[in-house]
Symmetry: C2
């Protein structure tokens, strides 16, 4: 992924990456883990690598995280919580189904562009989670899916949208937004906001929104 | 990725995975490399792992591939050649722009669903290629992008499509199809053909195709 990615979180407009994680040492270790996993993959990374990157000893890491899998789980959990929060707040927001779908796509895209390194780790290393943690994450994904499906269903019920296959279209909308994390920064001459605006327009076309 | 992925290539309707690679030992090593990279990531895989998976010695591997990067490059090259062939043959095919775009999406999706393990390795391990090989692959991607862009441009010129942002929409269409490799098989209750048909319809909506 390279050095260009290191400052990813600031691209999303946040002051301090992973600010919700305390104490400061635990936060620094999480930032280091995201970088290491993104660069070399989960299986090629050791807790020693992560501690070294954070300028700490392996023993200091162990105070905060018992295993490498626990680090991945924290990253995945925070990432999925954030994704669900974005989609839920759009689903439950004010306005027409088209306005809510547009808002959901814009913020979901913005998050995946601004946090593309985190999003890649979260998406590509899902299989490295233990069974229990994986089940928990799969449930969060199910809820994210349900939030988008609800907006689509509302739009169809209101006669605003024409969607022959609501579950399939929901999957496609989420997939389109998630994949921004893969290509953003490598082929991107667009800001996260610009991609969000373009994608909101494309998604409204996908659901046959009345102009 | 687990054992469910191991038979991926047959899902795409091919008789023998990587049949274009000869001799047989070189082919078996490539199949083993795809599986190992998909399961553990490129950096966590050794050439010894790959040889062992193929039931061969490290010395036997070395006859066919000098380095692990050479294996990744072969996989990436064959995958990208195939992608380009699919998109070019659609771009240069008969029929209206809508028919050609629909054909391109259907076969591109079918390939990514049927070869999702290969496609993931090809997409997610791009940064592990050496500079020269990476440049070669980036050029193939540029040509794939150009093939889709041409269909969109033709459709706009013929008054068939309404596309305010051709480069952005091209990127979104390719991204939507490529991401099938990430979710297919994990959330998929659909066949590759069914996903292809759904996506062709969604993409025609994205470009505002006249019905």
């Amino acid at each position: 992924m390279g050095t260009a990615d290191v400052t990813e979180e600031t691209a999303g407009g946040e002051e301090k990456p992973w600010g919700e994680v305390t104490p400061e040492a635990a936060r620094r270790l999480l930032v280091a883990a995201v970088e290491a996993f993104a660069e070399r993959g989960y299986h090629a990374t050791t807790t020693r690598d992560i501690a070294g990157r954070a300028g700490m000893s392996p023993a200091a890491l162990y105070i905060h995280y018992k295993t490498k899998e626990e680090l991945l789980h924290r990253i995945s959990r925070i990432g999925h919580d954030k994704a669900l929060e974005i989609l839920r707040s759009a689903a439950e927001g004010e306005g027409s189904a088209a306005e809510r779908l547009s808002a959901a796509v814009r913020s979901f895209v913005r998050w995946h562009a601004g946090h593309h390194m985190t999003a890649r780790v979260v998406q590509y290393e899902l299989d490295a989670l233990g069974a229990e943690h994986r089940g928990e994450i799969v449930e969060l994904r199910r809820q994210s899916d349900a939030a988008v499906r609800r907006i689509l269903g509302d739009g169809v019920a209101a006669g605003e949208f024409d969607v022959p296959d609501v579950p399939g279209t929901t999957l496609a909308v989420l997939s389109l937004c998630i994949d921004v994390a893969r290509w953003f920064n490598t082929e991107g001459r667009r800001t996260p906001d610009e991609v969000g605006a373009l994608y909101a327009d494309l998604v409204l076309r996908m659901v046959g929104a009345q102009k």
